[in-house]
């Protein structure tokens, strides 16, 4: 509509003001930009689909769409970290609003006005103008925050080991976004500087209105000329942005939400078992082709935000592993390998006649045309890096990185792009262990111990039930008619501290009148260390042995004191026919306290307790609350949280078979113990025998073992109930 048709009470603006004849050119340019964009996505698509084994990630579609909306549209995950959350939110939501604004403009001009039903008028127009300027400012604010963060504040997580990892497109993208907004405001200001007398309502376009003052004194003709220039620059930036998406980090606009849609729907940390050992040719992931396409796609969704690195216990204690770097290294390796794979896949399709045969002739023509385009582009563009002959496992991902992971799940839980790091790490470990049998000698010993005595320590299997001899704990062989099986696990059976926890729990259960039994020497190791250390074969042997015995006794409910066994029995045993209701002892104890079946009588004198979240309870199983409820039930106890708690808790260093391996350099458990010391804790409560060992050792390292104790929650309750009988290990001289 003409400028003259608007008035107070009928506010509005002339779309394409001063750019009346630009429209066809704009159309053409938009088409070109879209074509460049589409072609870029197409090329990437070929790369996504060229390498990797098949995997279905489209089941459970409603949940997938929910995840997409939650984290793609509402950005829930990004919010979990305030500064970057706000920063990204400003840019993202600003852009979404501006995008819709542009769409409104276009609809108004091409549809509503010709139909005689303009809607961008009056109050709505004013509101619209205000909103556009507001969100334009928001985007600028976000860009400034990002620039500050990347180039001034420079948090370590945007780099690696103190070295920044900034790439040209990081800057280009931010400047491009800033450019779009700034030129947008300039166009607006120039327009207002010419028309403001006729359009006093433009004060609602408050940024343009304010900026227009800068152009006072510029003649309307000059302003109009400048406006034309600014308009073209703005258009070039905006279309450039669209075209640039698939060729830059902006690609995450597509890949990251897509990755949310395709994120695993399995229980957290559940691993796909290797099936059919007898007939498989290879095990684990030794080459990039052995990853699934989704595992490769993951790396293209990574935004290098560094959240994963920020809480990775291995990285933070100086190990070479960084989950971000691992994903990026795999991505770069894929980028080197993909063009070759695309070429050979095309040849394969042509040779097999597949792909062409079933295709609609029009599409066929399109593909032929695209192929031609590919060839021209490939021949004329500067060549990418030569595909390396590097081995993926050992060179792209170094063995020190591969084996440093504690499987703590921090990276996966906190990743802003739903990337699944841990299964990749385990896949590569499987390759080293099962295919090459090339891994740390300490771990080889652990596996032999598990093979020969069904426990990682290698203590005689016949001693498994000795901890409970004096307590009258019955085995299922003696009495199978019990409600719960107490699956004691290896630490609870063989480790001195662990045995104390088993005794404590058994006494608590006996006092509460819970009916339970153990498997005694029929129990096997749960196999978690084997599974997470890549020895799936050994793990399945252990799992099957346990399941056979448990099913033999008709076991239904199981209590575990070790979160590793708890997690394996609960999530991974169902793969092999072991379907049980599995509880962690902190769940049982918390319930017994709440139901009044047991009572913590002995008060503590304002003792500061801190609770160390075990990864396999917390991040793997969301058991954050029960352990804390137990502490709160201790009269006089004060619960203080360490800085890193709940989802952001810091691993003790024992998971992922790391318990059995040498740790070089700074130790994770020492770092975690320090965090507990720093909050002034006097008791570190844990719910895991490995954490117990790790925290106790950490306290010793800091010379604090006299002042601070690490105790399992079962021990704490057992003491609080007055059940602990101090039994001297040896006879003492009577005075």
């Amino acid at each position: 509509m003409e400028l003259s048709t608007f008035s107070i009470g009928h506010e509005g603006r002339e779309v394409f003001w001063n750019a009346e004849h630009f429209e066809p050119i704009l159309f053409m340019l938009t088409f070109v930009a879209m074509a460049i964009f589409a072609y870029g996505v197409y090329r990437r698509w070929l790369m996504w689909t060229a390498i990797g084994k098949p995997e279905d990630r489209t089941d459970d579609r409603n949940e997938r769409i929910k995840a997409l909306l939650k984290n793609g549209l509402l950005q829930i995950k990004t919010w979990s970290d305030p500064y970057p959350g706000v920063m990204h939110g400003l840019i993202f939501f600003g852009f979404v609003v501006l995008f819709f604004g542009a769409a409104f403009d276009a609809t108004e001009f091409h549809v509503a006005e010709p139909l005689g039903v303009p809607f961008l008028v009056g109050k709505f127009y004013l509101f619209f103008s205000f909103l556009m300027d507001l969100f334009g400012l928001a985007v600028l604010g976000g860009v400034l925050m990002a620039l500050d963060r990347r180039y001034l504040t420079k948090p370590d997580r945007l780099g690696y080991k103190g070295e920044p990892d900034n790439r040209p497109d990081d800057a280009i993208v931010l400047l491009l976004i800033a450019g779009i907004i700034v030129t947008g405001f300039i166009i607006e200001a120039l327009r207002i500087s010419v028309t403001w007398q006729q359009t006093p309502w433009e004060v609602w376009s408050f940024v343009g209105w304010t900026l227009a003052k800068a152009f006072t004194g510029v003649s309307p003709e000059a302003a109009k000329a400048m406006h034309k220039w600014a308009w073209w620059i703005h258009t070039a930036f905006a279309l450039g942005f669209i075209a640039y998406i698939p060729y830059s980090r902006l690609m995450h606009i597509i890949t990251t939400p897509a990755n949310y849609f395709m994120a695993t729907r399995k229980p957290i940390g559940q691993l796909e078992p290797i099936k059919d050992f007898e007939n498989a040719e290879s095990f684990g992931v030794g080459t990039i082709e052995e990853f699934t396409w989704k595992q490769i796609f993951d790396s293209d969704a990574c935004t290098r935000c560094g959240r994963c690195q920020d809480g990775c216990p291995a990285y933070l204690t100086g190990k070479p592993l960084s989950p971000k770097k691992l994903v990026q290294d795999l991505k770069n390796y894929w980028l080197e390998k993909a063009p070759g794979a695309v070429a050979s896949r095309k040849e394969q399709l042509i040779a097999s006649g597949e792909g062409a045969a079933n295709i609609n002739p029009k599409l066929k023509a399109l593909f032929a045309w695209l192929d031609k385009a590919d060839r021209i582009v490939d021949e004329n563009l500067p060549k990418g890096p030569e595909p390396t002959e590097k081995a993926m496992v050992g060179e792209v991902v170094e063995l020190d990185e591969l084996w440093a992971c504690t499987n703590c799940m921090y990276c996966m839980e906190n990743c802003s792009a739903a990337i699944e790091h841990v299964p990749k790490i385990i896949g590569m470990r499987q390759f080293k262990v099962l295919m090459e049998a090339d891994f740390a000698p300490e771990l080889q010993l652990t596996y032999r111990n598990m093979e020969n005595n069904s426990n990682p320590w290698g203590i005689g299997a016949h001693l498994r039930a000795d901890w409970g001899k004096e307590l009258g704990v019955k085995t299922l062989a003696e009495d199978p008619n019990v409600e719960y099986l107490f699956y004691v696990g290896c630490a609870g059976s063989f480790d001195d501290r662990g045995k104390k926890v088993s005794v404590a729990l058994a006494k608590i259960l006996q006092t509460a009148g819970v009916s339970f039994g153990i498997l005694g020497t029929e129990e096997s190791c749960c196999g978690d260390s084997a599974m997470r250390g890549g020895n799936e074969y050994l793990y399945q042997t252990m799992a099957q042995a346990n399941i056979e015995v448990m099913n033999g006794y008709g076991v239904k409910k199981i209590i575990c004191t070790c979160p590793h066994g708890y997690n394996a029995l609960k999530k991974d045993y169902p793969h092999f026919g072991g379907n049980f209701e599995v509880y962690h002892h902190t769940e049982i104890i918390a319930e017994l306290i709440e139901k009044g079946k047991i009572k913590i009588k002995i008060p503590v004198d304002d003792v500061r307790f801190t609770y160390h979240d075990s990864c396999f309870l917390g991040r793997y199983n969301q058991l954050y609350d029960q352990p804390r409820r137990i502490i709160k039930a201790i009269p006089g106890a004060r619960l203080v949280e360490m800085d890193r708690n709940h989802e952001k808790s810091f691993c003790c260093g024992a998971g992922g078979a790391r318990m059995w391996m040498e740790e070089h350099g700074d130790r994770i458990n020492d770092a975690r113990a320090k965090q507990a010391i720093d909050v002034g804790a006097k008791t570190i409560a844990v719910g895991c025998p490995f954490c117990l060992t790790m925290m106790s050792d950490g306290l010793k390292f800091h010379g604090k073992e006299e002042e601070i104790v690490a105790l399992d929650l079962a021990e704490i309750v057992w003491k609080g109930m007055g059940l602990e009988e101090e039994k001297a290990p040896v006879e003492v001289c009577q005075a």
């Binding site: 295919m435 049998a437 891994f439 020969n452 005595n453 203590i459 005689g460 074969y537 001289c733």
Partner: protein, 257 residues
């Protein structure tokens, strides 16, 4: 280079050993059987030589049916084939009868070098390797911690009190392996799967032309006496008093000084 490695199946070091009521042997129920740990060094060294010089590694073992599992373990590590000598006549064989059966079986395969463990951890005799070499009439080096082979020249290092000696001999020979010779490998999964299909010959004593007769016989097994409980010296609380009491008890009760 063709290589023979002799392996014995023994109870796991952590296994609980119970002597049969009549003292004729040990209760076998519930025992986890493993490859004698010193034999693992022999198997590993065989595989290393094979990797270096080519040829075949044959595993030879005397023992009952369960021994097959141990032979398969060695095959999973990478050995090529096995010979199991399973004959009731040999179930309680002494070192001589065992060595004789091994020698007879080994004569049937081509070999350049034979590995044994320095001793078996069950009966601890440390004799089979030596007797085997004697029967075959070839040189032996026991307790090898390092082995170098150049053509037919053999240089083996063995530890002696506070030092090491290097023994030179030539192929064919028997080497008994001990800790330090190498780090035995962990079997790969394809190795384990392939091992199931590798050939193992099962032989009787008669097939080898031996009787299995032992030269010695174990008269009786007895378990070690149970460890008596500890004692706390309480008579006098001074260090001197405790020392005097300890000396007295060591002399009069324990009769060790």
């Amino acid at each position: 280079m063709n290589i023979v490695a002799c392996v014995k199946q023994v109870p796991d070091t952590e296994a609980q050993i119970k002597v049969k009521g009549d003292g004729s042997g040990i209760e076998e129920g519930g025992i986890k059987w493993v490859m004698n740990p010193y034999d693992e060094f022999g198997v590993e060294e065989s595989l290393k030589l094979k990797e270096k010089f080519g040829g075949e590694v044959t595993i030879v073992s005397v023992g009952p049916a369960r021994t097959m599992e141990t032979i398969r373990t060695a095959l999973a590590m990478g050995a090529d084939k096995g010979v199991q000598i399973d004959d009731p006549a040999l179930y309680n064989a002494d070192a001589y009868a065992t060595a004789e059966a091994l020698a007879a079986a080994i004569k049937g395969v081509s070999y350049d070098i034979i590995f044994c463990g320095q001793r078996a951890i069950d009966d601890d005799s440390a004799q089979v390797g030596s007797i085997l070499a004697e029967i075959l009439g070839i040189p032996q080096v026991t307790f090898a911690t390092k082995l170098e082979i150049d053509g037919t020249a053999v240089k083996a290092t063995r530890p002696i009190e506070g030092a090491a000696v290097v023994v030179a001999t030539s192929l064919p020979c028997v080497i008994t392996a001990t800790k330090g010779l190498n780090e035995p490998r962990y079997a790969s999964l394809p190795g384990i799967m392939k091992a199931k299909k590798k050939p193992v010959d099962i032989k009787k004593a008669a097939d080898l032309g031996v009787t299995g007769a032992s030269k010695s016989k174990v008269a009786k097994f007895t378990p070690p006496p149970a460890r008596p409980p500890g004692k706390i010296l309480c008579a006098d609380d001074t260090p001197e008093g405790k020392a005097a009491e300890l000396a007295k008890l060591l002399r009069e009760e324990a009769k060790v000084i």
